[in-house]
């Protein structure tokens, strides 16, 4: 039997060993020995398009129900496997194309019929924890009636001393698109079968700035090639509706910086995330997210957060085209238009020993008035939505 002094010393040694980790493992989510299962059920509902922004007819949009399951367990010494499974059902109408009204003001034409769709996706992540490095391999697959995607990714985290670590990663994705009714009598110009590929690389640094502050900064570069258009969208060109047509390559650059600041006296942690984005379609964006994780007692978390997003337009985007373009690229997709968005959310979490339940609610509002630059003509299809997520976690 150990003496109290020896037991205390052993505990202190164990604690020190657990905390004597490189910068990338200094936080709680790394190298845990627990097995856990987590489920999330989410409901997403887009707001109706105002009647004065449509050509008439359908104004309601997408509703999406999502269920996701995550299981994670250590396997062998220093290895951990995490499996994710997700299923979602979507229903509703979506923006089809934009046309000018009698005054030249752009109005949205919605897809005539309600679209019903479901998607199943799964991924497996195998991670190895070394003393000064960590390696991960991820395989994933996603399928829906008209789309499938297979992807693989690898990541290495390497300690550069005890305060800084380097992470390097690479990923590849191969997607196949087989649009519903492609090439049919009703939609003869719609694509029948197309492919796209994506290669991605990430390099970043994580540093412990103080006993209460950690910072991570990373550069990401992605090369996309193949069919990058939306097969279900059209664009109005000189009064005629033509298929959405985008360049068949797109390179994307992102610089992400994340700060975590502990405020121990308040029992809180502050999260600050920023991303700068630029791509070869000359689209640029800024994203800023702020979250406050307030602990109340040993069991409650209250987490309010806000997010701001602003993007410029893709160089070939127009709400509609009064003349044809030499490069043949046309898109009136609201996602390529200039706009800004503000989002706010609140999460409550209560733990019960090895279990926890959580509930979060988010609202997202987008518009030309939120953009950093001046938006002369706002796309009528910009989206607003509500999302609520219920979660349950169990660990042993």
């Amino acid at each position: 039997m150990m003496t109290p002094g020896r037991a205390g010393g052993a505990l202190a040694s164990l604690t020190a060993a657990a905390l004597a980790l490189p910068a990338f493992q200094a936080q709680a989510d790394a190298r845990e020995e627990t097995r856990s299962v987590s489920v999330r059920a989410s409901q997403y509902a887009e707001g109706d398009i105002p009647k004065d922004k449509t050509s008439g007819g359908e104004t309601s949009r997408y509703d999406i129900s999502t269920f996701s399951l995550r299981a994670t367990t250590p396997v062998a010494a220093d290895y951990r496997v995490t499996a994710d499974l997700g299923y979602e059902t979507m229903s509703g109408a979506s923006p089809w194309f934009v046309q000018p009204d009698a005054d030249g003001r752009p109005v949205q034409v919605m897809s005539g019929a309600t679209i019903d769709e479901n998607r199943l996706d799964g991924s497996v992540d195998l991670r190895r924890y070394g003393d000064s490095s960590e390696q991960a391999l991820t395989l994933g697959y996603s399928t829906e009636n008209d789309y499938s995607s297979a992807n693989v990714g690898g990541e290495i985290l390497y300690a550069l001393g005890s305060q800084v670590s380097l992470n390097l990663g690479a990923g590849y994705s191969a997607d196949k698109i087989e649009p519903t009714d492609g090439g049919s009598e009703q939609y003869p110009s719609r694509a029948v079968s197309e492919n796209r590929h994506s290669i991605n690389g990430v390099a970043g640094l994580t540093g412990i700035l103080s006993a209460t502050t950690v910072l991570q900064t990373a550069l990401s570069y992605t090369v996309n090639s193949g069919y990058l258009s939306d097969p279900y969208k059209l664009a109005s060109v000189e009064g005629a509706a033509v298929p959405d047509s985008r360049p068949d390559d797109r390179t994307q650059f992102a610089w992400t910086t994340r700060l975590r600041q502990r405020l121990g006296d308040l029992g809180a942690s502050l999260h600050l995330d920023y991303r700068y984005y630029h791509d070869s379609w000359q689209l640029e964006s800024h994203t800023l997210e702020l979250a406050w994780y307030q602990e109340i007692g040993e069991t409650w978390w209250v987490v309010p957060s806000v997010r701001y997003y602003s993007q410029t337009q893709a160089n070939f985007y127009r709400p509609y085209y009064v003349s044809s373009r030499e490069d043949g690229n046309y898109s009136s997709d609201y996602r390529l238009s200039p706009y800004g968005a503000i989002s706010a959310s609140l999460m409550l979490r209560r733990s019960f020993g090895s279990q926890a339940v959580s509930l979060s609610v988010q609202y997202y509002d987008s518009g030309g008035e939120y953009a950093l630059g001046k938006v002369d003509v706002e796309n009528p299809g910009l989206v607003d939505f509500w999302m609520a997520t219920l979660g349950y976690d169990f660990s042993i």
């Binding site: 020190a16 657990a18 905390l19 910068a23 200094a26 709680a28 989510d29 999330r40 997403y44 994710d84 979507m90 994933g140 697959y141 996603s142 829906e144 789309y147 995607s149 297979a150 992807n151 990714g153 990541e155 005890s162 305060q163 800084v164 997607d175 994506s198 991605n200 990430v202 412990i208 103080s210 006993a211 209460t212 950690v214 910072l215 990401s220 570069y221 992605t222 994307q252 992400t256 975590r260 502990r262 809180a268 991303r275 984005y277 791509d279 964006s285 994780y293 602990e295 997003y309 993007q311 996602r335 390529l336 999460m347 979490r349 959580s358 988010q362 997202y364 989206v383 939505f385 999302m387």
Partner: protein, 68 residues
Amino acid sequence: MSRLLLSLLLACLCGCASVQPWQRGELAKPTMAWDPDPQRAALAGHVYFSKEASSGGAGVGGGGCGCN
């Protein structure tokens, strides 16, 4: 832009204080994780990916979907 990025990377490397292992208790708090709720973060990321033009920076791997 490249100078700004280089400056930030150098600041990260040089600005790191020597925090001893026994001083890292606060960093190990669950709310200090990069994503304390990774599933919720993944769901939100998927929504932003399908409703906004920007993507990237949230790790490697992952594929597209018919939503975008």
